[in-house]
C-alpha cells in the first residue's frame, strides 16, 4: 500500500469520525447514559463484556489484515508452508484463552443475573412506591394502589426511591421498558412479572413497549417523570382532586383498542382492578371481553 493511499484512508476515517461526532452530538444515548442505578449497572456490564471480547477481537483483526498483507500472493519473500496444518501448542492457546475469558464472564453473568434480577427489591432507606402496570391495546395503564390513583401513558415517582412495578397485560404481549432507568420485562396476560427500578436524577424519561402488539404499538410511549418527593406528593394530590374515578365500566372502555393516547389521570381506582384483570385470563371458561369477574377476588 503506498503512502498516498494510506493517507487518503486515514483522512477518510478522520472525516467520518468527525461527521459522526457532530451528527450524534446532543443525542440522548439512554442506554449508555443511564439515570438510575439499575441502568448504570447494566451498562457497566456491557462495558465489561465489551472489554473482555476485545481481548480476542483485536488480535483477530490484527491477524486478519496482517496475514492477508504479509502472505499475499505477490509477496514471494514470505514463508510458504503449504503442508503446515496443525500445532498443538498454539491450538491450545485459542481453546484455552477464550475458555478462560468465558469462565470469568460466566461468573460475572451468574452473579449479575442474581444481583440485577428484575424481581429483586432494591436496597434503599426510602419506602418503595408500588405501581401496577397493565399493557392495553395500545396504551399503558399505571395503577398506584398505595395512593389509589391511576394514570395512562404517564408515570411519576420520587427520585432516589425504589419503584416496584408489577406488570401484566390485557392485550397481546408487550415489553415494559424505560431505557434511561434500566432493562425491560415482558407484560403478559394472565401472568405477572416484576421490575424494580430507581431514578437517581430528576427528569423526564421516555418509556415504550419494546414488543410488537398490533397496529398501534409504536404509539405506546409514555413519560416516566422522576421528581422531588414534594412534587410527587402534589402531583398525587392534583390527580386525586380531579373527579375522574376508574370503575369497571370505565376500564372496559379504556381497554378498547385506541392509538396514541395522551396522558390522562384517574382520581380513584376500583379496588382489586389489577387482580380482576389478571384473573379473567385464569378463570376457566371465561372470555377475554368479560371484565365482570370482580366478585371472585372480593
Amino acid at each position: 500500500m503506498n503512502k498516498k493511499r494510506l493517507s487518503l484512508i486515514l483522512i477518510g476515517v478522520a472525516v467520518a469520525i468527525t461527521l459522526a461526532a457532530v451528527f450524534l452530538h446532543g443525542h440522548n444515548f439512554a442506554v449508555l447514559n443511564p439515570q438510575g442505578e439499575v441502568g448504570r449497572k447494566e451498562r457497566n456490564l456491557m462495558y465489561v463484556a465489551l472489554v473482555m471480547s476485545l481481548v480476542v477481537v483485536i488480535p483477530v483483526f490484527v491477524m486478519l489484515f496482517g496475514f492477508a498483507w504479509t502472505y499475499r500472493e505477490g509477496n514471494k519473500k514470505a514463508m510458504y508452508k503449504p503442508n503446515w496444518d496443525h500445532n498443538r501448542t498454539i491450538e491450545s492457546i485459542w481453546w484455552g484463552v477464550p475458555t478462560l475469558l468465558i469462565t470469568i464472564l460466566a461468573v460475572i453473568a451468574w452473579n449479575s443475573s442474581h444481583d440485577l434480577d428484575p424481581y429483586k427489591a432494591l436496597v434503599s432507606n426510602k419506602q418503595p412506591i408500588q405501581v401496577e402496570v397493565v399493557a392495553l391495546d395500545w396504551k399503558w395503564l399505571f395503577i398506584y394502589p398505595q395512593q389509589n390513583i391511576a394514570s395512562v401513558n404517564f408515570l411519576q415517582f420520587p427520585v432516589d426511591t425504589p419503584v416496584n412495578y408489577t406488570i401484566t397485560s390485557d392485550a397481546p404481549m408487550n415489553s415494559f421498558w424505560i431505557p434511561s432507568l434500566g432493562g425491560q420485562v415482558y407484560a403478559m396476560s394472565g401472568m405477572t412479572t416484576q421490575l424494580h427500578l430507581m431514578a437517581n436524577k430528576i427528569g423526564d424519561f421516555e418509556g415504550s413497549s419494546a414488543n410488537i402488539s398490533g397496529t398501534g404499538f409504536a404509539g405506546m410511549r409514555f413519560v416516566a417523570r422522576a421528581s422531588s418527593q414534594a412534587d410527587f406528593d402534589s402531583w398525587v394530590a392534583m390527580v386525586k382532586g380531579q373527579d375522574t374515578p376508574l370503575n369497571t365500566t370505565d376500564y372496559k372502555n379504556l381497554a378498547k383498542p385506541s392509538e396514541n393516547n395522551p396522558a390522562s389521570y384517574y382520581s380513584s381506582v376500583q379496588s382489586n382492578l389489577f387482580d380482576d384483570i389478571l384473573l379473567k385470563y385464569m378463570a376457566p371458561g371465561s372470555t377475554v371481553h368479560n371484565g365482570s369477574m370482580a366478585g371472585m377476588s372480593m
Binding site: G26, A30, V31, E42, L45, M46, A49, M52, V57, V60, F61, L64, F67, A68, Y71, R72, E73, Y80, K81, P82, N83, W84, D85, H86, E91, W94, W95, P98, T99, I102, L105, A106, A109, S112, S113, H114, L116, D117, Y119, K120, P172, W177, P179, G182, G183, Q184, V185, M188, S189, T193, Q194, E206, A210, N211, I212, T215, A218, Y281, G285, V288
Partner: protein
C-alpha cells in the same frame, strides 16, 4: 344449512384482492413478471426443454441450481420489502406518517423476515449442498434423489403460497415468528397468519426431507477410503447442520400445527385464555429457531473452510479442532434458546444458565476463526472474489459476535433486547456469516457447474458495495439501539432525533441494492463473455477436493470412475503425487426424471391454500392427491436408466476434449 358459495370458496371473497396502491403494485408486477417469463418461454419454444431438462430433473446439480435461482429471486423480493421498511422509517416522523399504514408496515417486515430466512438463506443453503455435496464425497447422486425433488418442490410450494398472499388476502402482521397471543385468532382474525403458518409448514416439511436425505448421503455414499476424518470440512459442516435439521424441524412442524389448531379449531394451546400458554409457543419456536441459525451458518462455515484453504494454497489449519468445534456448536445450539427471551422473567438461575451456555458457544466459534486465520498464515493468498467474501465475513462476524456476547449477559440484554441493537446484531450474523458465505460458495463453484468463471471485476464491485452498504445499514442501528429505539416502529416523534440515522441506514440499503445490481450484471456479462472465462481444466482455482478432478461443466454422472480417497485433500494430494489414473469406464445407473415431485407439491399447495381459506373440498382433494401420487410413484418399478460404458466413454471424451 349448506351455503354453496362458502363451501366453494371458504372465507374468500372480493375483499381478498389488494386495494391499496403499494400492494396492488406489488401484486401486478409479480403477475406481469410471470406472464413475461411465460411469453418468453413460449416465444423461444422452451417449455418442453424446461420441463424435461430442469423441472422434472432428479439430478441434484440441476435441483441445486433451481434452488439458488428461486432464492435469488426471493432475495430481490426481500430487499424490496426492506426498501419499503426503511423508506417508511426515514419519513414517518412527527406529523408525517410516511408511505404505509401500520398494518401494512407490519405485514411487510413479517414477510421480510420469513422470506429471507426460509426462502433465501435456506434456499441458498440447500442449493449449494445439492450442487456440491455429492461431488465433494465422490458420489454420483444423493441417497434419495426423488425425495430431493419432492423437498425442492415443497420449498417452491411454500414460497408460492407466501407470495400469493400479496394477491389474495393479506400476510401475517405478527412478526417473522408470530408470537401468540398476537398471532391468535382474537388479535389476528384475517388469513395473514394462516398464510405464514402454511407456507412455512410446507417448506419446513421439505427441509426435514432434505435433512434426512443429506444425512443418509453423507453416511452411506462416501467414496471408498473416505473415512469420517478424511471428509472435507464442508461435508462435516453439512452433517452437523442436517443433524440439527432432523432434530429441530419437527419442533417447528408441531408448533405451527398447534397454532393452526388454536386458530381454526378453537383449541387453546397458546391462547391467553382457556388454559393456554403463549410462552409455551415462545419456548417451542425458539427451540427450533436457535438451532435454525446454526443450520444456516454451519454450511457457510464449511464453505469458508474450503475457500480459505484453496485461496491460501495451504491445508486447512487444525482440521481436528474444526471438527470438534462443529460438534460442540451442534450440541450446544440446543441449549441456548431461552436467550431470545431473558425478559420473560424466568428468574435469575434460569437466565444465568442460558446466558452462560450462550457464551460457551463463543469458544468453539472463536477456535474456528483462529484456525481460519492460521490457514492464511504461511500461505500464499490469492484475493479472488470468494476470498474477499471470506475476509468480509471474518471482519463482520467478529464484530457481530461481540454484540452477541453483550447480549448473552442477561442483565445487559434487558437493556438491548428488542431494540435496533438486536436487529443489527442478527443481521450482522446472518448477512456477514450466512449470506457472504453462500455468495462465496456460488462464485467458487460456479465454474464447476457451468464450465466458466464469473467475471472477477464485477464480483469485486459487488463485494465492496455489499460491504459498504452493510456497514451503512447496520452501524446506525447499533447506535439507535443505544438511544432506546425499539424494532418494528412504523412511526416515532421528531424529538427522538432518530431520523438522521434511519436515513443513513436507508442509504446503506441502496448500496446493498447496488451490490445486487452488480451481481445481476456479473451473471449477464459472464454468460455473454463465457468464452473468455472458460474453465478448460476443470480445476480453475487449483482446488483441493474431489469435485475439481471432474471436467467442467461436470457431467450428469459426476465421475466416470468413483475416486479412491487416501487423504483429506484428496485431489490436491493426487496432483502433488502426479498420479494420473487411466480412465476406466463402467455402466452408470442413475434415476430417470420424474414429474411426481411437482405433482406432490402441487397437491400440498392445495392443502395449504384450502387450510388458509377454509375450503374443505380443496383440502380433501389435495390430501387424496398427495396420497395417490406417492402410491403411484412407489409402485413405479421403472425409475432408473443406465448409461453404457461405451456411451460414458464417448461422453467423457467429448467433455475432456471440449475441456482440453
Amino acid at each position: 344449512m349448506f351455503h354453496f358459495a362458502s363451501a366453494l370458496t371458504g372465507r374468500m371473497n372480493m375483499q381478498a384482492f389488494p386495494r391499496d396502491t403499494i400492494t396492488a403494485g406489488g401484486a401486478l408486477s409479480m403477475v406481469f413478471a410471470l406472464i413475461a417469463i411465460a411469453a418468453f418461454l413460449t416465444y423461444k419454444k422452451r417449455w418442453k426443454w424446461l420441463w424435461k431438462e430442469w423441472l422434472t430433473s432428479l439430478d441434484p446439480k440441476r435441483i441445486g441450481v433451481m434452488y439458488i435461482i428461486v432464492a435469488l429471486v426471493m432475495l430481490l423480493r426481500g430487499l424490496g420489502d426492506v426498501l419499503l421498511i426503511r423508506t417508511q422509517q426515514a419519513t414517518s416522523v412527527g406529523s408525517s406518517h410516511g408511505i404505509l399504514n401500520s398494518d401494512h408496515f407490519q405485514q411487510i417486515f413479517s414477510a421480510h423476515g420469513s422470506i429471507m430466512i426460509f426462502f433465501v438463506a435456506m434456499g441458498l443453503m440447500f442449493g449449494l449442498i445439492n450442487l456440491i455435496l455429492p461431488l465433494h464425497i465422490g458420489a454420483r447422486d444423493v441417497a434419495f434423489p426423488f425425495l430431493n425433488s419432492v423437498a425442492f418442490w415443497l420449498f417452491v410450494a411454500g414460497m408460492a403460497l407466501m407470495n400469493l398472499s400479496i394477491i389474495f388476502g393479506e400476510f401475517s402482521a405478527a412478526g417473522w415468528l408470530a408470537y401468540p397471543p398476537l398471532s391468535e385468532l382474537q388479535y389476528s382474525p384475517g388469513v395473514g397468519v394462516d398464510y405464514w403458518i402454511w407456507s412455512l409448514q410446507i417448506a419446513g416439511v421439505g427441509s426435514l426431507l432434505s435433512g434426512v436425505n443429506f444425512l443418509t448421503t453423507i453416511f452411506k455414499m462416501r467414496a471408498p477410503g473416505m473415512t469420517m476424518m478424511k471428509m472435507p470440512i464442508f461435508v462435516w459442516s453439512v452433517l452437523c447442520s442436517m443433524l440439527l435439521v432432523v432434530f429441530a424441524f419437527p419442533i417447528l412442524t408441531v408448533t405451527l400445527a398447534l397454532l393452526y389448531f388454536d386458530r381454526s379449531l378453537g383449541m387453546h394451546f397458546f391462547t391467553s385464555t382457556g388454559g393456554g400458554n403463549p410462552m409455551m409457543y415462545v419456548n417451542l419456536i425458539w427451540a427450533w429457531g436457535h438451532p435454525e441459525v446454526y443450520i444456516l451458518v454451519l454450511p457457510a462455515f464449511g464453505i469458508y473452510s474450503e475457500v480459505v484453504a484453496t485461496f491460501a494454497r495451504k491445508r486447512l489449519f487444525g482440521y481436528k479442532s474444526m471438527v470438534w468445534a462443529l460438534g460442540a456448536i451442534t450440541f450446544l445450539s440446543f441449549s441456548v434458546w431461552l436467550h431470545h427471551f431473558f425478559t420473560m422473567g424466568a428468574g435469575a438461575d434460569v437466565n444465568a444458565f442460558f446466558g452462560i451456555m450462550t457464551m460457551v458457544i463463543a469458544v468453539p466459534t472463536g477456535v474456528k476463526i483462529f484456525n481460519w486465520l492460521f490457514t492464511m498464515y504461511h500461505g500464499r493468498i490469492l484475493f479472488a472474489t470468494p476470498m474477499l467474501w471470506f475476509m468480509g465475513f471474518i471482519a463482520t462476524f467478529t464484530v457481530g459476535g461481540v454484540a452477541g456476547v453483550l447480549m448473552a449477559v442477561p442483565p445487559a440484554d434487558f437493556q438491548i433486547h428488542n431494540s435496533l441493537f438486536l436487529v443489527a446484531h442478527f443481521h450482522t450474523m446472518i448477512i456477514g456469516g450466512v449470506v457472504f458465505g453462500y455468495f462465496a460458495g456460488i462464485t467458487y463453484w460456479f465454474p464447476k457447474i457451468f464450465g466458466f468463471k464469473l467475471n472477477e471485476r464485477l464480483g469485486r464491485y459487488a463485494f465492496w458495495s455489499w460491504l459498504v452498504g452493510f456497514l451503512l445499514a447496520f452501524i446506525p442501528l447499533y447506535i439507535l439501539g443505544f438511544m432506546g429505539a425499539t424494532r418494528r416502529l412504523d412511526h416515532y416523534s421528531a424529538s427522538e432525533g432518530w431520523q438522521g440515522l434511519f436515513i443513513v441506514a436507508g442509504v446503506g440499503v441502496l448500496f446493498v441494492l447496488l451490490g445486487v445490481g452488480f451481481q445481476i450484471l456479473q451473471f449477464i456479462v459472464s454468460i455473454i463473455q463465457r468464452k473468455q472465462n472458460i474453465d478448460a481444466t476443470g480445476d480453475p482455482w487449483n482446488g483441493r477436493t474431489l469435485e475439481w478432478s471432474a471436467p467442467s461443466p461436470v457431467p450428469f454422472y459426476n465421475f466416470t470412475t468413483i475416486p479412491e480417497v487416501h487423504s483429506r485433500d484428496a485431489f490436491w494430494e493426487t496432483k502433488r503425487a502426479k498420479i494420473s489414473m487411466p480412465p476406466r469406464y463402467e455402466d452408470i445407473t442413475l434415476p430417470k426424471n420424474s414429474p411426481m415431485g411437482i405433482f406432490i407439491a402441487a397437491f400440498a399447495f392445495m392443502v395449504g391454500f384450502g387450510c388458509i381459506w377454509h375450503i374443505v373440498w380443496l383440502i380433501v382433494l389435495g390430501l387424496i392427491g398427495v396420497v395417490i401420487t406417492v402410491l403411484v410413484r412407489s409402485a413405479d418399478e421403472d425409475t432408473e436408466e443406465t448409461t453404457t460404458a461405451a456411451e460414458v466413454k464417448r461422453l467423457d471424451r467429448v467433455a475432456r476434449k471440449v475441456a482440453a
